[in-house]
């Protein structure tokens, strides 16, 4: 049976329908995969539930339409889908994978192919890349995260029912994917490993010499506070900071790893400890403090640095530990320090959060930081609940897929 080309508005409707079906536990998929994820210890249930809530709020027809409009190419989007016969791919089912075998469908053969390498520390970490690929009109191929083989698989199965020509195949191991020769590849990694990843992709025949790569290298985020923030409501501020630090066990690139503030750590440590206690009571960490974190804690204490326990993480005033896993650095400083750190950590820095309403955010955005490209300001409240069109590493992935 042939399928007509799908216009972007229709794609948006089908994507949202698939996501709704998933959230509404169609075929019992969601319950099964959430249970499996939690019981296998891949992610704590509370983090999975937090993520599901975010998906329900952020993946809406309006949000996707707005994103497409903002990417500025909505009118071109339909052109990505060429007219032609859309044979259903012959799909071989496996646990956590869907591999297309044999030749690609005729229509799919003419559509751009996007390979997404999902690697992450968060549940459903590649959601944005999946949605962007489908929204762009391209065919999705995915290497699922080994830590998240079930959730994404469940969602992709339901999306495949709605957009069969755009779901090329996915697997938890790169070697299991067909040699698709993708036109575009999205992945996350350390700056130093980008070339190694590209080489591996080429070796496996997953990319060609013409393939465009979009590597994302940012690893952590920073908060910038001013005196006014402390005067308003320290308890609420602490709660927001702790959510940004501890949600997803601090592992995401949007997780808060550095705070620059006019007050010293010792002045705020009590507030933070209280807020952390409440957070941890509601969201039990999946692990105790790691030996490497205890090691640094001992070192900081022995050298007379400030160090406090925040859940299974620690917070210290030694900013030379910036970027270390489970270590949050508190720097007593101001705007100049924000700029200095942003320039120093450049490609590793994801967002800079401010504790502010729109007015303060606007004032800060248009202030002296506006000409520092490494600084992307956002409200602290959105640290762990980004909109679907947020820009990892400052790049709109949908616009990139259409432009590259």
């Amino acid at each position: 049976m042939s399928a007509p080309p799908v216009h972007i508005s229709e794609r948006i409707a089908r994507i949202c329908d698939g996501v709704d079906a998933w959230l509404n536990n169609e075929d019992g998929i969601l319950d099964t995969t959430v249970d499996r994820t939690a019981t296998e210890g891949l992610f704590p249930r509370h983090d999975v539930m937090h993520m599901l809530k975010q998906v329900s709020v952020t993946v809406t027809p309006k949000a996707l339409q707005d994103w497409a409009d903002r990417a500025g190419k909505a009118d071109r989007a339909g052109k990505a889908v060429q007219a032609g016969k859309a044979d259903r791919a012959d799909i071989t089912d496996r646990a956590g994978s869907e591999i297309s075998s044999g030749s690609a469908p005729a229509q799919s053969r003419q559509m751009p192919k996007v390979l997404c390498l999902h690697a992450g520390n968060l549940p459903l970490v590649g959601l944005q890349d999946i949605i962007a690929t489908l929204l762009s009109g391209a065919v999705y191929y995915g290497k699922l995260s080994r830590r998240d083989p079930w959730l994404a698989d469940g969602l992709l199965r339901l999306l495949r029912k709605r957009l069969p020509d755009q779901l090329g195949g996915w697997a938890s191991r790169l070697e299991e994917l067909d040699k698709v020769g993708a036109d575009k590849v999205l992945f996350a990694g350390a700056e130093s490993s980008v070339e190694e990843v590209k080489q591996r992709i080429h070796e496996l025949g997953l990319a060609s010499a013409q393939t465009h790569f979009l590597p994302r290298t940012a690893r952590f985020s920073m908060a910038w506070l001013d005196e006014e923030d402390f005067r308003s409501d320290s308890v609420r501020l602490s709660k927001r900071l702790i959510e940004a630090m501890l949600r997803y066990e601090g592992r995401g690139c949007r997780s808060l790893a550095v705070v620059v503030a006019p007050r010293s750590l010792s002045e705020v440590a009590g507030y933070l400890a209280d807020a952390a206690e409440v957070f941890v009571r509601r969201n039990r960490p999946s692990h105790y403090r790691k030996p490497g974190v205890s090691y640094w804690r001992s070192y900081l204490k022995s050298t007379g640095k400030e160090v406090y326990d925040i859940g299974s993480q620690i917070i210290t005033d030694d900013y030379e530990l910036i970027g270390r896993e489970d270590v949050i650095c508190w720097l007593t400083g101001d705007e100049k320090d924000v700029v200095r750190l942003a320039r120093q950590y450049g490609p590793q820095l994801q967002q800079v959060y401010v504790y502010a309403g729109r007015e303060t955010l606007s004032r800060k955005v248009t202030g002296s930081l506006s000409d520092v490209p490494e600084i992307r300001l956002e409200p602290l409240s959105g640290a762990q609940s980004p909109s679907i069109d947020w820009r990892p590493d400052g790049i709109d992935v949908l616009a990139w897929l259409w432009d590259a």
Binding site: L117, A119, G120, N121, L122, V125, S145, R146, R147, F187, A188, G189, A190, S192, S193, E196, V197, R216, A218, R219, F220, G250, R251, G252, C253, S255, A257, K290, P291, G292, S294, Y295, W296, R297, S298, Y299, K301, S302, T303, G304, K305, D318, E320, L321, G323, R324, E325, R340, Q344, Q348, Q350
Partner: protein, 357 residues
């Protein structure tokens, strides 16, 4: 063990005493006399002599590392310090111990009488307290020929140097020494039974990127038996390149076989050095041990072949801190040697990373 410097020197370089025995002695000594290390071990619950904790090398920046019996150090070494970073400060209580460690270590892997040492260290000229400069200077001073030297920064390796040096041979050297002792003229015909003339080989020391600059500036090819020792420094850094690429470029640039490109692994915080004599991995002198540690649990030693952080047990640091963890990425090999793979990126474990998967 009393605190006499002489006693310590005799003890540490005594090869009849097993390394592990000396480790325990030094460990007990440091627990007693290094308050920062004592606090660290206490908090780590690391008073077990079978699981000696390595303190982060940052301690040389963050604290005053000084034994409680030391009033005035005989020397102070400082790291060059990247902009915005604090310098490491290594106070040397017993300079003779430092020099002995350098020279004895060097002599473990090379015959000092076989080489003329040349050093070109432009990036270090503005750091008079560089431990690297001190080490090489000492090796140069120990060479009785007077030919070993630091090369002038503006004229690193003129062709004339090579001609002069290639004419220098062991007989000349021996005769010069005999002449000093006996009053005989140098160059006089050697008596029957004297070791036949043997040319001295050139050993050129330089920070990795300094040597590349030298090639770019048109350095001449070296004699085929010369040896290059890159000291791993990133001074005059332009971009990062792999060890293999560096070795190839130095080999091509100076016209030497790859096995003549050697390396030295040392740092401000160490009184000893490990040497790569052309096989591509480093070996340690008997009073230095390198282990590769699990970055997520530095108390764990990684098995051979697995990458991790380089951990140092340098017993010549008996008067400072002997047991510490560097930020260098390394891998141990089955033969007990190790490779240095650059700096460890601690942010790798944060955020999403395809390779970590």
């Amino acid at each position: 063990m009393n605190q006499s410097y002489t006693t310590w020197r005799n003890y540490l370089f005594n090869t009849d005493i097993p390394f592990d025995d000396k480790v325990r002695t030094v460990y007990r000594h440091q627990l007693e006399h290094q308050p920062v290390y004592r606090r660290f071990c206490d908090d780590m619950n690391g008073l077990d002599e079978n699981a000696i904790p390595l303190i982060p090398v940052q301690v040389y920046r963050d604290a005053v590392v000084r034994a409680d019996y030391l009033e005035t150090p005989q020397a102070v070494f400082r790291s060059s310090g990247t902009t915005g970073m604090k310098q490491s400060i290594h106070e040397i209580a017993d300079l003779r111990l430092y020099y002995e460690s350098c020279y004895r270590g060097f002599s473990q892997f090379y015959d000092p009488h076989e080489f003329v040492l040349l050093a070109w260290l432009p990036g270090y000229s503005d750091n008079p307290e560089s431990s690297l400069v001190a080490m090489i200077d000492h090796l140069i001073q120990r060479d009785g020929t007077g030919q070993s030297r630091f090369l002038p920064l503006d004229q690193p390796l003129a062709g004339a140097d090579l001609t002069t040096l290639s004419n220098l041979n062991t007989v000349t050297y021996l005769n010069t020494r005999r002449h000093r002792r006996s009053g005989r003229m140098p160059g006089a015909t050697a008596k029957p039974g004297v070791t036949p003339a043997k040319k001295r080989r050139i050993m050129l020391f330089g920070a990795a990127f300094g040597l590349l600059d030298m090639i770019d500036a048109g350095a001449p090819k070296l004699p085929e038996d010369a040896v290059i020792v890159e000291t791993g420094g990133m001074k005059t850094h332009r971009r990062e390149i792999s060890k293999e690429e560096l070795r190839k470029r130095l080999s091509d640039g100076f016209g030497l076989p790859p096995e003549s490109i050697h390396s030295e692994y040392g740092m401000t915080e160490m009184c000893s050095q490990a040497w790569d004599t052309g096989k591509g991995s480093f070996d340690c002198p008997p009073w230095l041990r390198i282990t590769v540690r699990n970055p997520e649990n530095p108390q764990q030693v990684q098995p051979a072949g697995e990458e991790g952080l380089i951990g140092v047990m340098d017993l010549a640091n008996v008067h400072s801190l002997a047991f510490f963890l560097t930020q260098d990425r390394g891998v141990a090999l089955p033969d007990g040697s190790f490779r240095v793979l650059g700096r460890w990126d601690h942010a790798e474990l944060r955020g999403c990373n395809f390779l970590v998967e």
